[in-house]
């Protein structure tokens, strides 16, 4: 097994894991943080696929701006104190 393949397999596993955890972790805030991690991992995946344009856009828009919007919504939700997943 080459190092590149090992890296790809690890990255794929991390992608699937972070996606699943983002949806299932008990606290919504942590779910959003995991989603941002997922977005950054996606950016890595795009780099591995030879798509630096998408990697840039994913990091800036997919993880960055979407993350900012989601975090703000969580803040708003917490201000209203709604519990639960």
């Amino acid at each position: 097994m080459t190092a590149a393949l090992a890296f790809d397999l690890l990255l794929v596993a991390a992608l699937v894991w972070s996606a699943a955890r983002a949806l299932t972790v008990a606290d919504v805030f942590r779910g959003v943080v995991l989603f941002i991690v997922f977005g950054l991992l996606m950016a890595l995946a795009w780099a591995r696929l030879g798509a630096p344009d998408i990697a840039l856009a994913e990091a800036a828009i997919g993880a960055g701006l979407t993350g900012a919007l989601l975090l703000d919504a969580v803040g708003h939700l917490r201000a209203k104190r709604e519990p639960g997943p």
């Binding site: 798509a51 840039l56 856009a57 800036a60 828009i61 701006l65 900012a68 919007l69 703000d72």
Partner: protein, 218 residues
């Protein structure tokens, strides 16, 4: 939702994944090879980065509609934002403010660089616009920018500029050919013109999605 329904949905999702996987492992050789066609026509596209050539020339029409989708989303967000008086900027940590004052101009420079480099290398209007928007979000977080739910005429013009320039170029070339058929000699310049407008408008729109959306608190 009952347990039985949940189990059924999980089964459905797993079945879809399995079917997708099976389908992917049994694909024929594609009959059409677009990368070769892109490479063959790259010289006529006005740029030398293939992704930018697809995005702003070969499939520029997709991009035009996509810019409309983005502006439309902002229109929707604005329609939902209650016309409360713009919330006074929250007091932020002075360190964050200093940082924002330093970094924001730098980000504008980076955006300009990304826009310019997009013709030859990864980058372009969307990435540049995203960086501009990030600068806006940072300034907002530092409390240096007010939220806006009701943009004034100048701001609305800025938001619409990219799409209007794109549409204007698209129809201006109709006299000599089809929609968005740039004359080969002018293609590079026209693409840069469109991208410049788009960078500004995308930056404003993306920032607006945040600035208008985050303003509901009375």
């Amino acid at each position: 939702m009952s347990r039985a329904v949940a189990a059924l949905v999980v089964l459905l999702a797993a079945g879809l994944a399995a079917a997708l996987g099976l389908a992917m492992l049994d694909l024929p050789e594609p009959a059409v090879r677009l990368p070769a066609r892109v490479a063959a026509k790259l010289g006529d596209s006005g740029v030398d980065h293939p992704v930018t050539a697809v995005l702003l020339n070969f499939r520029a029409y997709d991009t035009l509609l996509e810019v409309a989708v983005l502006l439309l989303a902002l229109v929707g967000v604005l329609a939902l934002a209650r016309p409360h008086a713009a919330r006074a900027a929250a007091p932020a940590h002075p360190l964050l403010q200093t940082l924002a004052r330093l970094v924001a101009p730098l980000m504008v420079l980076v955006a300009g660089y990304l826009l310019w480099i997009g013709a030859h290398a990864p980058g372009g209007a969307f990435q540049a616009g995203a960086v501009l928007a990030a600068a806006g979000v940072l300034l907002r977080l530092a409390g240096l920018l007010p939220a806006w739910a009701q943009p004034g005429l100048l701001l609305r013009g800025g938001l619409a500029l990219g799409l209007l320039v794109f549409v204007a170029v698209a129809v201006a070339v109709l006299g000599q050919g089809s929609l968005l058929q740039y004359p080969p000699a002018a293609a590079g310049g026209l693409i840069l013109l469109i991208e410049a407008g788009l960078t500004l408008s995308i930056g404003l729109t993306l920032a607006g999605l945040y600035l208008a959306g985050t303003e509901v608190e009375p």
